[in-house]
């Protein structure tokens, strides 16, 4: 099914006798949910864009590339730098903005500018009964009623099908530069990322792979130059500087997990404390791409390492199997938290037809 309006979508959900597999572009779907495919791509287009207020209201099925194009026309962008996971997941398709928000898909700049959920100001969605619900709005400060926007962000379609999202956007910086630090082992290379993030120099990216630590700063030209100087003095080691488009290319590779693409093995996405980043990888084994100063680990591991992964992150984060045959795909939750989540799902989708089997 591919409804072309919110009303058609509501009718489709209300009238469905079968489970539905909600899909934007299917470029970042995880897990084993089954059902009749319900695509949102027919509900597309920009509703409102006010560059002077940094706000964009857009229908959920709008391609991400179209959103980014519209923003680039005003020298603006999505601050949370959504990753393109087609390469690492081996998918085709056109990523939609609704799918990005539903997956809370956030890239390297999360350490400075927040996640997709932090940029999400408002949503419209159709719940599992086919009822249209609105929450939040298009202004940056809004505490009117409960914040279902945050609940919907990252809910992967299990509570409702988003039809519209309002987003806070960001001006593109005048300049960017990346320090490339070499000659450090993983524990030392990760410690230098933490030192950079703990400095007042407003670091907007802190990643490591292939023996290189990357530290990014963005902003006005003079300010970038100043912070680069201070950071070089702070981190030590063998530092080279990459600027402009070359710097941007480095961060696209981190964002999209390029170094681990097309390689045999299973891929885990681990969220943990930055100070645990080196040890978690050492315990599990495999090749890592660290982002968020070590707080996010993309790990290419041998198949069947699920038990080791769970043990390594216990009490200090969680892990999702984004590519592989084993399971569970989604991290288990504490029983009392799982009970609340199940209760919420039962309220929003009493028939359990939306992405049944996804997220626990």
């Amino acid at each position: 099914m591919r409804p072309s309006s919110e009303a058609e979508l509501a009718d489709a959900v209300a009238g469905s006798m079968r489970p539905l597999l909600v899909r934007g572009g299917g470029t970042r779907t995880l897990g084993h949910a089954v059902g009749e495919v319900l695509e949102t791509g027919g509900i597309s287009g920009v509703e409102l864009y006010e560059p002077g207020a940094l706000t964009l209201v857009v229908r959920a099925g709008t391609p991400l590339a179209e959103v980014e194009g519209v923003l680039a026309g005003e020298r603006q962008r999505l601050a949370f730098e959504p990753p393109d996971l087609r390469g690492i997941l081996g998918r085709e398709g056109v990523s939609t903005i609704g799918g990005v928000v539903a997956a809370n898909a956030s890239g390297p700049r999360r350490v400075q500018a927040g996640a997709a959920r932090d940029a999400a100001l408002g949503v419209r969605f159709v719940d599992g009964t086919g009822t249209m619900v609105r929450n939040g709005g298009r202004v940056m400060k809004n505490v009117t009623g409960y914040d279902l926007v945050k609940l919907m962000a990252g809910s992967r379609g299990v509570l409702g099908v988003m039809t519209e999202v309002s987003l806070k956007v960001q001006a593109m910086p005048e300049a960017e530069a990346t320090l490339v630090v070499e000659g450090l082992d993983d524990p030392a290379g990760l410690a230098c990322l933490r030192a950079a993030l703990g400095s007042p120099f407003d670091v907007s990216g802190a990643a490591r792979h292939s023996g290189r630590s990357l530290i990014r700063v963005e902003g006005m030209a003079g300010s970038v130059a100043y912070r680069v100087r201070r950071l070089i003095a702070l981190v030590g080691g063998e530092v080279s500087l990459v600027e402009g488009e070359s710097s941007a290319a480095l961060w696209r590779a981190v964002r999209d997990v390029v170094p681990l693409q097309g390689r045999p093995g299973e891929v885990w996405r681990v969220v943990t404390l930055p100070t645990a980043a080196a040890e978690v990888v050492a315990r599990i084994g495999g090749e890592a791409l660290w982002d968020w100063g070590g707080g996010l680990i993309w790990l290419l591991a041998e198949p069947g390492r699920g038990a080791e992964v769970v043990a390594a992150v216990a009490g200090r984060g969680h892990a999702t199997l984004v590519r592989g045959q084993g399971g569970p795909v989604f991290p288990p939750e504490a029983p009392e938290v799982a009970a609340l989540a199940a209760g919420i799902r039962a309220k929003f989708d009493p028939r359990g037809i939306l992405n049944r089997g996804m997220m626990g």
Binding site: E50, T144, A341
Partner: protein
């Protein structure tokens, strides 16, 4: 303000309920003497008052859990209270309710600079969180005006903002995890210091739920390295429209000041008379603050100056030193006090799209004449969060009602232009009956379903946020 009839059964069982609370708490943690309960009869929305059945001041998560379990079994409504600074009546009790105050739970449990978080008990005040980490070069970003007094528990309940959230976001953007006690005493951990939930973002909906989903006893908060410096400029304009256009141009230019504050003429005059900050006598005034090293500050201010001068300001004043910076902020920080010198006032906090600013200010001016009440506007212009201050005389019969009617019209206007009823104060009882202006029945139903899951008996702060007729069926169960 209509509140539900107190539960006669609960009132009749007061002695037994208090005895049960005493059995699970230290002797000094239960308050039931009428003269002591007067301290809890209202929060900062002082127009409405009602002493609670009793009050408790637990010290640990376990004690909070024991209290809630007793109240759950006895069917006693519970009103959680941080420091009682809510301007929306979020902590106002009913006669049959227990006030659960977290003021004694104010310890710092853990600071972790490498992972950039602090874990605190929820009664700790906002400013003292920064106080605990500033010697090491860190700070906690959300800065509500009441930050000296307000507790992080209340900040989480209301998703509080502040003047500097243009750059750093509001509470929800800086909250990593909580320990939450549900109404039946169950203790859950939502989120954690790693900052991303494993499943549904339940923390995201708890933040801003006005104490209706559970009692937060501990929180993990993001702390940030303190910038090297900060400096404000003051820009005066001869019209609100031009000031609004200047704000928009600054934002569009990609400069991200940490704060852009706006004051209109009535507010400027009142603060000048009160605080003598030396503000120009003009229609509208902006205070713009930027951060960074000396060189970075100069670079940003040069750009702001260039943009502002294109709008022909009556004055562009840079702070040459710390003392001048303080004077620029002095008037803004005295604004509420200055208006309070003139008369009683009601402070609203609706948010509007920044582009609607001139229209909304013009309409507020017209309504001010229609209602015969003066109003001054001071607000966070970068994010459209308005703070109209309506002056009235509490001793003059009918004036409060007139003021409330005027306030309601302003908030309806905020919604009409694409904004919302409240940007940072919360709904509480104050805006409860206006929720239908912004939300459909289905929109509110979806929100109330979340409460059904966390608090099926609707005992936590039950008569707030949703219009009484919308929540009636649920509260009766």
């Amino acid at each position: 303000m209509q509140m539900p009839e107190p539960d006669a059964g609960v009132l009749a069982r007061k002695a037994r309920i208090v005895a049960r609370l005493r059995a699970v708490l230290p002797v000094d943690a239960v308050i039931d003497a009428p003269e002591e309960l007067r301290a809890y009869e209202c929060d900062a929305l002082t127009a409405y008052r009602c002493p609670p059945l009793a009050a408790v001041l637990p010290r640990t998560t376990e004690e909070v859990s024991a209290v809630l379990r007793v109240c759950w079994e006895e069917g006693v409504p519970v009103v959680p209270r941080g420091s009682g600074t809510s301007l929306a009546g979020g902590a106002m009790p009913t006669a049959d309710s227990l006030i659960l105050g977290v003021a004694r739970m104010n310890a710092v449990l853990e600071t972790d600079y490498e992972n950039r978080f602090i874990r605190v008990q929820s009664g700790r005040t906002n400013l003292s969180i920064t106080g605990a980490v500033e010697a090491d070069g860190f700070f906690y970003a959300p800065d509500p005006s009441s930050q000296l007094a307000c507790a992080i528990a209340g900040n989480i309940a209301m998703n509080s903002g502040g003047a500097h959230c243009l750059k750093y976001g509001v509470t929800t953007n800086n909250l990593l995890g909580v320990t939450l006690v549900q109404m039946d005493g169950t203790v859950v951990t939502l989120g954690g210091p790693w900052g991303e939930p494993a499943g549904l973002d339940l923390l995201g909906v708890v933040c801003g739920s006005e104490g209706q989903l559970g009692v937060v006893t501990e929180a993990w908060l993001r702390i940030l390295p303190r910038p090297e410096g900060a400096r404000p400029v003051l820009v005066g304009f001869n019209s609100n429209e031009v000031a609004g256009a200047c704000v928009s141009d600054i934002i569009k230019a990609g400069i991200l000041p940490v704060a852009i504050e706006f004051m209109d003429r009535p507010c400027i005059r009142a603060t000048e008379a009160f605080a003598h900050a030396g503000y120009p006598d003009c229609e509208a005034l902006l205070i713009i603050e930027v951060e960074g090293s000396e060189a970075e500050i100069s670079e940003q201010l040069a750009r702001i100056r260039q943009i502002a001068l294109a709008h022909d300001p009556v004055e562009f004043r840079e702070a040459e030193d710390e003392d001048q910076a303080k004077r620029i902020w002095l008037g803004r920080k005295s604004a509420f006090g200055a208006m309070g010198q003139i008369n009683d006032y009601m402070c609203l906090d609706g948010t509007i799209p920044v582009s609607s600013l001139p229209h909304v200010l013009k309409r507020i001016g017209e309504m001010s004449r229609d209602f015969g009440l003066d109003v001054g506007n001071v607000f966070h212009a970068g994010d459209g969060n308005m703070h109209p201050l309506i002056l009235f005389d509490a001793n003059k019969p009918g004036d409060l009602e007139k003021c409330e009617a005027f306030g309601a019209e302003i908030l309806k206007l905020c919604v009409e232009v694409g904004g919302c009823l409240t940007g940072e104060h919360g709904v509480g009882i104050e805006k409860r009956d206006l929720m239908g202006v912004q939300f459909s029945a289905a929109d509110m139903e979806a929100q109330m379903r979340v409460k059904d899951v966390f608090d099926p008996k609707w005992l936590l702060n039950p008569a707030k946020v949703f219009p009484l007729e919308a929540s009636a069926g649920r509260r009766a169960v």
